[in-house]
């Protein structure tokens, strides 16, 4: 495809901002102010251009759009190859949106090394968008792993008291998973003779090889999602990361895993995916129920939301591997919804944390008396997280449950109990923080949301309700891509079934 390289623009625009920030000289205050300004404008422009991608996106066309390809390394025609389909489109937009909000949310709370902070977030944005739009395995891996560097720095430099531990745990857990995927990528390159994802999507990997490749990819994505039992890095990382770091972590980084399952595991190793599906169902159900129960017992707000993330991502993995149209579309919507809602919830926590410097639920209580607008915002996102009809969370969870019911009614029933538990811990949290009498002395002077904070929350509220009330534009855009995926999956599984029957 020829034409203007819009995807490259979206991907690398943040780096232009980085270059500008690096050029800023002068007094620390001036540098900090200008760095914030540049970061905000860069991320805003990136976001607007990414919206342009959606407007120009043709939902009826199958295959990838906005493709660009330049030869990079000669072996296995490794190329700089970008392109998006209906699944990745929204993740690109989500990354761009959340980065804007992160910059806005850190406007006052970050005072130390502002310039470096903004640089880290802009680099992170480039890597995230690049990850979702790359159509070459090696390129994908470079972006996928490269994210570790800025995120490690963000947690470690601007994080809480146990930031060292959290940063290392995050770094090493994810790295350990990913290196196995790298070996699988290399093996695939040899098997197929190419690293081009568009070609690999139609390549049939030998059935004997698929389980190994699948497991290697699983090692990486399961850590990223994170799935039980490799989720333990997430609560630590979330608790210690600065607010904006948690937002990106929950909003986008967790989606790497879910996206990876959709883009690689399911279409490239369909037979292995079908064989391992019960295994995934098991882990997902455990994640949904067990981590919900754990969340119920948390005293730390960020930890509670972190555990709820694990539970919600359990729905994603469940939906993905049902390999039904509802399950997969539900998984994507659930990922987008979770990206917005959990990001918003971390921002909600960040608001009171900036004022009181405590994340303990026990510190708060009766906030509705002093902060009515805050209480409203919190309520919207709390209900979206619970999955109330009319919010984005409902659409995702409902579709996933429909998909799961098609695949296995027991799994669906167990997963549905997770919805109830989700309501329990979120409502319990909300009651303890917002309602009750305002008795604590230091809370009596707490102030409501500032206009800046409202400006940060406004787009998120809008998205959550829009997706909940009218999800058609989202579903339409991804429908063709998902149908293609399922068609391919079913043909491959059926063919493998034939082979197995014949061998019997």
């Amino acid at each position: 495809m020829t034409g203007f390289p819009w995807l490259s623009v979206v991907t690398f625009a943040p780096l232009v901002g980085v270059a500008f920030i690096l050029l800023i000289r002068g007094e620390p205050d001036v540098v900090a102010r200008n760095a914030k300004g540049v970061a905000l404008w860069t991320s805003l422009i990136t976001f607007v251009v990414s919206l342009g991608l959606w407007i120009n996106f043709d939902p009826t066309a199958s295959g990838f759009q906005f493709e660009e390809k330049v030869v990079w390394m000669p072996a296995f025609d490794i190329a700089y190859h970008l392109g998006i389909d209906g699944i990745s489109l929204f993740f690109v937009i989500l990354s761009a949106l959340l980065t804007v909000l992160c910059v806005g949310a850190s406007w006052e709370s970050v005072k130390d090394r502002v310039k470096e902070y903004m640089i880290a977030f802009l680099i992170l944005e480039t890597l995230m968008i690049g990850m979702f739009s790359s159509l070459d395995l090696i390129l994908f891996y470079v972006f996928f792993e490269g994210v570790l560097i800025p995120m490690f720095i963000i947690i470690g430099v601007w994080g809480g008291p146990r930031r060292n531990y959290a940063a290392f745990k995050f770094f090493l857990y994810t790295l350990a998973g990913s290196v196995l995927m790298l070996l699988a990528i290399l093996a695939m390159a040899f098997q197929a003779g190419t690293t081009d994802i568009t070609k690999l999507l139609t390549h049939d990997f030998p059935i004997s090889l698929q389980p190994w490749l699948w497991l290697a990819f699983f090692a990486s994505f399961a850590v990223k999602v994170p799935m039980w039992p490799v989720h333990t890095w997430l609560p630590d990382a979330h608790v210690e990361a600065p607010t904006a770091g948690s937002v990106i972590l929950a909003g986008v980084l967790l989606k790497f895993g879910g996206y990876g399952f959709l883009r690689f595991s399911l279409p490239m190793f369909p037979v292995a995916s079908a064989d391992f599906a019960p295994f995934i169902y098991g882990l997902s159900v455990v994640a949904i129920i067990y981590t919900s129960l754990v969340a119920l017992a948390q005293e730390d707000m960020k930890k509670l939301i972190a555990y709820s993330s694990v539970a919600h991502m359990g729905f994603v993995t469940l939906g993905t591997f049902t390999a039904t149209i509802q399950g997969i579309e539900g998984a994507v919507i659930q990922m987008l919804s979770h990206g917005v809602v959990s990001a918003a919830l971390f921002l909600v926590v960040g608001v009171v944390y900036d004022r009181m410097h405590s994340r303990d639920i026990a510190t708060y209580g009766g906030l509705v008396n002093r902060m009515p607008v805050y209480a409203l915002v919190f309520m919207i996102f709390m209900l979206a997280s619970v999955g109330l009809p009319g919010t984005s969370g409902f659409v995702g969870e409902f579709l996933v449950l429909v998909g799961a019911f098609k695949a296995n009614s027991w799994v669906a029933a167990l997963a549905a109990t997770g919805v109830i538990l989700g309501a329990a811990y979120m409502l319990y949290l909300y009651r303890r923080v917002i309602f009750g009498k305002l008795t604590k002395e230091d809370l009596k002077s707490i102030t409501d949301l500032s206009p800046r904070e409202m400006a940060v929350f406004a787009p998120l509220v809008l998205v959550v309700i829009f997706m909940g009330v009218y999800p058609i534009p989202f579903l339409d855009a991804m429908h063709v891509s998902v149908e293609n995926l399922i068609e391919r999956y079913e043909t491959a599984v059926a063919a493998a079934e034939q082979v197995r029957l014949a061998a019997r």
Partner: protein, 486 residues
């Protein structure tokens, strides 16, 4: 009269080293060090040019004992760049410690000559000559700071153990000669191609591997490395970590692939073992280090372990494509390794407080505040050594593992990547110390121009390798084609 043209770079270096000695002797002592040092750099740069000009396919001379080909050209280029950088980086340190004598650069040039010799050696005897010329120069510069016990100890330790390994090597050579009747690589290769493999040759081969493994400091012959790295003056350590490692690895490849290539099934398992042992030990032993030079020693042991994966692949019989990828993987790895290590040592050489060198990892605490530029550069090197994309180190590992997967050495590849995760811990710990910990006093400034130049060049290569990787990849491909025709 043998044809001297293929050996022109070596001859030029030899003549120039004598000339440099003269220049040094006939100058005032205070000025001699500086002028000889710059002349030495000029000599090395000119030699690179000569290497490039002389390169014209494969040419052998001195009765087949000396050969130059694409492989030699590539490796010689790396060695000369590394040596020139090491000479450049040593000036400041030596001046501050009052040991800037003109012999130092001359010894470096002689060591480079030895390394060039062994890269081009096509006979076990000329190989041995090259090794000894290199080693003797290295023993002396290891103990160049002779007033400190640590440096003297390092030199002595290096000498004793080095002599032992040379002995092993010679013994192996004599066995091979005794059982095969030749020391020439081509003659040996022909013999083995014909299916001969007397038991004595295998035994001799084991000794040769032991001797060569000592020089690349592969486990279990690594014991000298941390002590020597720690004791030797820092610019010498920087030199040790790069040029001799590259030369030794390249020579290892030429001996094993060039002469004993058809005995691959005999030595491949040995290489696999020392590769795994080096990667694992390099990763785990570095975790507890507090001295950054010792840490770099273990890091280099680990890196050599990764490079040896390529050699293990090259030992696999049958799959010619995989063997070629193994060798070119090593060459790519070595080039990237060179840039990362020179850069990292340039940073370490800046660790100076109140006029004294400090070597503790803790001394880097808070560097991101006191010297943000240097912290960023060092962080880039550390992430790169850990193999995190998109930095250069990732691509080094990438090509090595690519070859391992191609040769179906899955266990080796899996152990390798897992060891790299462990290794990432200690590299990233340095980043943590620089970025997360509370600042210590800042280092003495300002950074000299030559150091800045070294840091900028190595930093840019490491950071932006991914933008245009073709020069190194293609170069390695050509070099491999020369070693493994067809």
């Amino acid at each position: 009269m043998p044809d001297l043209v293929p050996a022109l770079p070596e001859i030029f270096l030899a003549v120039m080293s004598m000339a440099l000695l003269m220049v040094g002797v006939f100058q005032k002592e205070e000025k001699a060090g500086r002028s000889v040092s710059y002349l030495a750099i000029a000599t090395l740069v000119v030699t690179i040019a000569i290497v490039g000009v002389v390169a014209d396919g494969r040419a052998s001379t001195f009765g087949g004992a000396f050969v130059t080909d694409g492989f030699a050209v590539y490796v010689k280029g790396l060695i000369l760049i590394a040596t020139a950088a090491a000479v450049l980086m040593s000036r400041e340190y030596l001046e501050q410690h009052g040991i800037f004598r003109f012999e130092f650069p001359v010894l470096m040039v002689l060591a480079a000559l030895g390394m060039l010799m062994m890269v081009s050696a096509n006979d076990l005897i000329s190989l041995y000559l090259g090794i000894e010329l290199q080693s003797l120069s290295l023993y002396v510069i290891a103990s160049f700071q002779r007033d400190t016990t640590r440096s003297a100890e390092a030199g002595l330790k290096y000498f004793v153990l080095g002599a032992l390994s040379s002995g092993l090597l010679l013994y192996g050579i004599s066995l091979v000669y005794g059982f095969s009747g030749s020391t020439n690589f081509d003659a040996l290769a022909q013999l083995f191609q014909a299916g001969e493999s007397p038991l004595g040759v295998t035994v001799g081969l084991v000794f040769i591997i032991a001797g060569l493994a000592f020089k690349v400091s592969a486990v279990p012959f690594h014991m000298w490395t941390p002590d020597v790295y720690e004791g030797a003056p820092t610019p010498v350590t920087a030199f040790f970590a790069v040029a001799p490692k590259i030369a030794a690895m390249a020579r290892f490849v030429r001996v094993m692939v060039g002469a004993f290539g058809d005995l691959g099934d005999q030595w491949q398992q040995v290489i696999i073992f020392i590769s795994i042992a080096s990667m694992v030990l390099g990763s785990f032993a570095a975790i507890n280090q507090t001295n950054i030079k010792r840490l770099m020693a273990y890091s280099s042991i680990g890196h050599m372990g990764y490079a040896l994966i390529g050699l293990a692949v090259a030992g696999g019989a049958g799959n010619a494509e995989a063997r070629a990828d193994g060798v070119s993987g090593i060459l790519i790895y070595l080039a990237i390794y060179m840039f990362m290590n020179i850069g990292a040592f340039a940073c370490i050489l800046q660790m100076r407080r109140n006029g004294r060198m400090v070597e503790g990892i803790d001394d880097l605490a808070g560097l991101s505040k006191s010297n943000p530029a240097m912290a960023m550069v060092l962080a880039v090197f550390m992430f790169s050594m850990a193999g995190i994309p998109p930095l250069a180190g990732f691509f080094g590992k990438f090509y090595i593992f690519l070859a391992a997967i191609e040769a179906e050495l899955f266990a080796l590849a899996i152990i390798g990547v897992l060891a790299s995760v462990v290794g990432a811990f200690y590299y990233v710990r340095i980043v943590k110390v620089m970025y997360f910990d509370a600042p210590e006093e800042s280092f003495d400034g300002p950074v000299s121009m030559e150091m800045k130049a070294v840091l900028v060049v190595t930093g840019v290569v490491t950071l932006f390798f991914f933008v245009w990787p073709l020069p190194i990849i293609d170069g390695a491909g050509l070099a491999t084609a020369a070693l493994l025709p067809g």
